[in-house]
Symmetry: C2
Subunit: 431 residues, 2 copies
Amino acid sequence: MRDVTIQNVRVIDLRFPTSRESIGSDAVNKDPDYSAAYCILETDAGVEGHGLTFTLGRGTDLCVSALNYLATFIKGRSLHSLTENMCAFSRTLTDESQFRWLGPEKGVIQLATAALINAVWDLYAKVEGKPLWRLLAEMEPEQIVSAIDFRYIDDALSRDEALEHLRVSRIGMEARIEQLTRDGYQAYTTSAGWFGFSDEKIQRLCREGLAEGWTHFKLKVGGDPVDDLRRGRIVREEIGWQNKLMLDANQKWSVAEAIERTLRFKELDVWWMEEPTSPDDILGHARIRREVAPIRIATGEHAHNRVMFKQMLQAGSIDVCQIDSCRVGGVNENLAIILMAAKFGVPVCPHAGGVGLCEYVQHLSAFDYLRGSMQLENRVIEYVDHLHEHFVHPVRIVRGRYQMPEAPGYSIEVRPESLERYSFPGGRAWQ
Amino acid sequence: MRDVTIQNVRVIDLRFPTSRESIGSDAVNKDPDYSAAYCILETDAGVEGHGLTFTLGRGTDLCVSALNYLATFIKGRSLHSLTENMCAFSRTLTDESQFRWLGPEKGVIQLATAALINAVWDLYAKVEGKPLWRLLAEMEPEQIVSAIDFRYIDDALSRDEALEHLRVSRIGMEARIEQLTRDGYQAYTTSAGWFGFSDEKIQRLCREGLAEGWTHFKLKVGGDPVDDLRRGRIVREEIGWQNKLMLDANQKWSVAEAIERTLRFKELDVWWMEEPTSPDDILGHARIRREVAPIRIATGEHAHNRVMFKQMLQAGSIDVCQIDSCRVGGVNENLAIILMAAKFGVPVCPHAGGVGLCEYVQHLSAFDYLRGSMQLENRVIEYVDHLHEHFVHPVRIVRGRYQMPEAPGYSIEVRPESLERYSFPGGRAWQ
């Protein structure tokens, strides 16, 4: 690979006023303005690395500040000096001796770390001339493993186990690539069931979704129990019993309440219940899962690092592992989580309700199929249908399936005119 | 109580250049500049509420920004409107609909929340004319319980259980107050054993500590195994077998490594091993604890909220519950943790290695004795001997015991000249 030097990092506070239409609303997040702390790695070769971390509006400036500071660790460095030991690079960010106290590996500084690490991978893939999923899939086992920080997880997955798995998963990969690029990857839609939508709107959106070929629908719950059930029945009636219905409570309940409330939905043949309680409650999820079976339990979008995912897998907390491309420390840490989930036999179904998350996670799910679990059964990627027009290479969905991206990079580059219009607070959208 | 109105909140970025002398250094935190995001609630009655959240230098500005935003929720409000339902007040901060995404209840925004909530308690205690510990101890059970957010913890401690416990713990409280104000509260010193200190310095500081009446000494480990053991032997030799020796690895190891490394210290009769691995690893700590018994396991200073403490108690992860006054959402959340620890029979020994933490936590340990566990056995408060001169009411230590503070408030008020001198980056200390 030719080498390039990162000369400058531009950081942008990007906010879309989505709260004006209740887009993205749920039982806990009432009025999100889908936003991002966004960074551009400018190089001496013209090529740029783009990355973002997803936020909900207020507080994006905190991630921007953190990102500006962390960016000082890559300014002036060659891409090769970062990619030759991605784990060491990520530790320069996560182990910064004073900054670390603000986490460690959680919250604002972890979100900022994700944006920066994702931008490095975007740059890496562009320099290699490949979409990220293909870059990852074609890496040698040693290269992949060298990107992973095994500290704190080697009791669940050792470096040697990961290496062995990655050697095995090279076999048959070309056939899986062929299948994936031909058939795409199964998606599900969250766009029909936001919390702030009326019954009529949900009904209409379900019908439109079916007409577009959707087969998996998610509904936001966690409000009044009678309302929740009525809304659930509406969706089930519209989509029929042959399609899948998932529910999402967005952390609304305590443990006992979550069990009681989840069991009330039994008649709806729920495919999974998502975020029934606190995202930190590993043991709580395990208990909920035991007591509501066969309803499956999903969580992960707020699990802040690989140590949390490790424990959810060890404790039997989840049936569905919902990785997030920004919540943990970027691509590196998601590789660790995907390989752990593969070992524990828990399907990865990424969270993507936000701006740019669909663009990101399609690459991670592809890696999971190609080098991780090597399976597609019970695996779906979330899809929400807004804000894609701002991306240079937006996701492509055909009949409810993601079509594999072909452009080099991590698909996260936002169009320059959108960066300008939605920059906060100076952009025109905020005047 | 007379009511006062909070008219303004001043927020200060306060940093002490402690890294110049290796003070506070350990295996992970190599060069801390003990710092704080500091706030002053200014009222219409002249009385002020002070609060801070402890940080290590860089990144304090993130907490300052978060604090400036959260402060908008109390400007113009009467103190009574906050204290009449402290749980509701704390939720206005922790559930802020867009900000919440940056946590929830963890990292930068949780640290900022702590500073603000602690400042409200400081103001409350000052208006009542009592030190905080006495204000808390003399509260009605209903009042205490109304300050606690039971969401996500009621599977471990219900509101009714807490109420019942607090009714019982009123009995005999006057005698316990008398004892505490007479005898003080057992402390331990961390000041002899920082990571960056030479063998000679450790030796000298141990001797000085003994001469001052200290009986419990903590040593930082997590470096080279041979060095660690040599340093441990030096301390043990100096303090003798009748005194207590604790070790602190500051999260340095993975799980298996932590077990192996901890067992190497067996000959030293270690009273506890602190932070052997990731602070997020509830199950990891439980396994370490099982495998190194009878060496006791301590952690908590990086546990970011009550849900994490709940699980550590449920999973049997800890022998020692190390609450932190700033890491979780302030006094309110620590009340919850203290009551849970009492129920599970795990002693609370607060973390206080930082600036202002000793001043804070003496109040929390007093509450634990007066209304929580009602016990002193195996309970000690950390003490570090620097930066106290900056406080208006610094802690008083006599023969290794905290003397109960008598001045109204939470003892956290920093002297105006120190606020000015150490404000960052404008203060004289940083010129």
